[in-house]
Amino acid sequence: MADETAGMAGPPKAHGLHRFRPRLEMRQTTSGLRTAAMIAAGLAVGLGLSALILVASGVRPGDLVNEFIVQIFASPKNISAVLVQAAPMIIVGLSASIAFKARFWNIGIEGQMIFGAIGATLVATFDIGPEGLRLPLMALAAALGGIAWIALPAVLKLRLGVNEIISTLLLNYVALNFLLHLLYGPWQDPVSAFPHSEQFEETERLAALGWQSLNASLIVALALTVLVTVALTASRVGYLLNFVHTNATMARAVGVPVVLLTLAAALGSGALSGLAGFTISAGIEYRMTQSFFIGYGFSGILIAFLARNNPIGATIVALFVAVLMVAGQSLQVFYQIPFAMVQLIQAIIVICVAASDFFIRHRVQWLTG
């Protein structure tokens, strides 16, 4: 022990590694600027690693730039593809954000999307209500469908303490099987006899906006962003949800209606998921298919996580994920890169951004000597 310090005077001995030592300290405060910088750095590392992986699997570096930047942002067709893809992404991101804000871990986004689409399709197929009101009615039915599918887990959690992670997850499978039952049975398309619903009529579709393939689903998504932003950041509900999120015991003790707020957040999340199902059915596929929801549950959770449950952040991250999806599709087509690679890239970016949290919370010092 003693000669370790004595070694400082003379030339360093065998343990040269000791000359530069990292030392960690917990930070008590972190400026917003540092937080943003660290997250950006995490993102950059994630993108760098992803690029390396793509290059290693045969994409030329030049092509990478081409696919991700030039192709996407220089072609109106691709921009509109990204925006169309982004609309339901934004909505599921909002859905997850609002649920997570109340610490309600909604893993059942896909099940709620299915019931949302079922609600919308019900209105469309049976021509419920006047034509002029058909679309709003479909949206309403979708929201109610999503709410119906999350209501049971929400009540079970709040009344009996049943873990919502399990209940919402398992209800996804129930929803999927019910969807298949409908599509292979009573709601099968009589025209093509394929297992999807019959096509929606013109009045039952979200209108095209007259530019490329863009349609009103993006407007729906942006309107919901505004709504959720107001609810979470300006209203009393959002203010109180911050307490539920950070310390539910304290919230209860000072008189915050924790149960009521959690219920409201869960139902709101279900409604949003249902609406996401509606925008896909009425805005992209013009019918209810058997696989329209796949992957959105995971994406929603990921978006909310990266955006730290901030609705505006969720919208930006959703756009980013949509870019990744669209670029991924062309990588698949032109470079035979499997879709799993796109998921791998998503995962790498999530891990890198999550890891940046460590550098937000700690101070790393390099000691010499």
Binding site: E25, L240, F243, N247, V254, G255, V256, Q365
Partner: protein
């Protein structure tokens, strides 16, 4: 290599800054072999920071660390451990689902799990027996009481071979009896040749159990003195820079009952009935104290009255007429109840939210800062700023700063600012000065008195008999969930003390 003066650990001219803030400014302390050394100072004086330097958690900007007279560098907690320094932190660092042995093993995993576990179990049992620790080492640490968890932490550093033991405010979380037991253990350790640094706010602990006392203020060392012969007021002057002396100020006018509790029964989280048939009343304009040895139902009484847990039986009436027995916390607050729980960090504040938000949540719930659709931020922040000023909450660099950054005393002042903002009729305060330094606890007491003088009823539940005797107009002694005796002022300390243990 041994220092002739017998100094085991010396920290010399230690300076440490955090992002430009100088937490330690050439601070120094030296601890002899076989002594118990008290480290005193107000919240934020730099006690924990200085000790963290010795424990290898903080690297000092400058200064020297000497062990037995030899300068060393301490590269991290593991290195401190090889140097024989062990620290028990204010907030325990234990893995809750693991038992004591597994937790201790974690700090030094041996080669093979199986062999290590057996050897370690034997060793831990041996040390625990030596110290007279009662502890079930096979139970998950999360199910142990705070005092037992602390024993696990102490065992961890001792089994790790520490000869220099640093305890950071160990008695702040303990009841008087538990604290006294711990301090006896500490004396025994010193007798066996260990050096112990005891960080504390309680002057009598420093004087009665320690050999020497070092006082810190504002990141600097004020002085080191012999404990023998020093008076509390001398120490107070060293700590604060002025003498703080609290005096009794009985109530001038006592009115009608604001809280009536009849036959109250309440259970702990695990179903154990902790409050059984409690009967008492608190009148407007008085401070009614509930004295008692900790663990006799105090926490459960406080939780049941503030609405955090449901009571099982009995009737609780507020303001003479409103039955709040089954009311939620919300409804109780609407009826004029305010609560200052003992565990302020988990029950009264949300550490990651801002000072302003933590202050304003009560007002927001009462509709003071806008409707359900809109919270008027600017107004809210202005009110928070005024309250921070009025209640002398210090260390608030910005209203947007996280509440967790406030020191204990200032956090408590913030809680009080919020709780008093609704002009409550009844205040339920549980150990409101626990862990606070002298000046902060005097300020908290002053607030309770002035609320009383403004006509509120105050229920003060405290395990600290001195606090009860100082503040209360009437005292009830609680034992095993019942009020077993009541006393009117003037109090006889002896008979209250006897009632606390006599019925046990």
């Amino acid at each position: 290599m041994t220092d002739p003066s017998g100094t085991a650990l010396a920290l010399d001219a230690i300076t440490k800054t955090f992002d430009g803030f100088r937490a330690l400014d050439a601070a120094h302390v030296s601890v002899r072999r076989g002594e118990v050394h008290a480290l005193l100072g107000e919240n934020g004086a730099g006690k924990s920071s200085l000790m963290n330097v010795a424990a290898g958690l903080y690297a000092p900007d400058s200064g020297r660390i000497l062990l037995d007279g030899t300068e060393v560098t301490i590269d991290g907690p593991l290195d401190a451990r090889t140097h024989g320094i062990g620290m028990v932190h204010q907030h325990y660092k234990l893995v809750k689902p693991f038992n004591a042995i597994e937790n201790i093993l974690l700090s030094d995993p041996g080669e093979r799990y199986g062999a290590a576990i057996d050897a370690l179990t034997a060793r831990v049992r041996e040390v625990a027996d030596e110290l007279g620790f009662e502890l079930d080492v096979t139970k998950p640490v999360g199910t142990l009481s705070i005092a037992e968890q602390q024993r696990v932490e102490i065992l961890k550093v001792l089994v790790g071979g520490a000869w220099i033991l640093i305890l950071d405010e160990p008695t702040a979380v303990l009841t008087d009896a538990e604290g006294a037991r711990l301090l006896e253990t500490v004396r025994a350790l010193a007798k066996g040749g260990h050096s112990v640094v005891l960080v504390t706010h309680k002057l009598n602990e420093a004087i009665d159990y320690c050999d020497r006392i070092t006082v810190m203020r504002g990141g600097r060392t004020v002085d080191t003195v012999e404990a023998k012969g020093i008076s509390q007021s001398d120490l107070t002057t060293m700590i604060v820079g002025a003498d703080v002396h609290e005096q009794r100020a009985p109530s001038q006018s006592i009115g009608a009952p604001v809280l009536q509790v009849a036959g109250l029964r309440a259970a702990r989280g695990d179903g154990h009935i902790a409050v059984r048939d409690a009967n008492f009343e608190v009148r407007s304009g008085e401070i009614y104290g509930i004295a008692g040895v900790g663990g006799n139902g105090q926490t459960e009484l406080s939780d049941a009255l503030s609405g955090l847990t449901r009571s099982l039986a009995g009737i609780v009436t507020l303001g003479g007429t409103t039955d709040i027995t089954d009311a939620s916390a919300e409804e109780r607050r609407e009826n004029g109840l305010a609560a200052i729980p003992a565990d302020r960090h988990s029950k009264a504040l949300s550490g990651t939210l801002s000072v302003a938000d933590n202050f304003a949540v009560g007002g927001v719930l009462r509709g003071r800062f806008g409707s359900w659709l809109r919270v008027r931020r600017r107004e809210l922040e202005q009110a928070a700023g005024e309250a921070v000023e009025a209640f002398d909450v210090q260390g608030v660099r910005s209203l947007k700063q996280r509440a967790a950054l406030l020191s204990g005393g200032n956090a408590q002042k913030l809680v009080i600012a919020r709780e008093f903002s609704g002009s409550p009729r009844l205040i339920v305060a549980h150990s409101p000065a626990r862990g606070l330094d002298l000046r902060a606890s005097a300020a908290v007491h002053e607030r309770l008195r002035s609320a009383r003088d403004a006509g509120a009823g105050v229920l003060l539940i405290s395990e600290d008999l001195d606090e009860i005797l100082l503040l209360c107009d009437r005292i009830g002694v609680m034992t095993r969930g019942q009020i077993v005796a009541e006393f009117d002022a003037p109090f006889d300390r002896q008979s209250v003390g006897e009632a606390m243990i006599g019925h046990g």
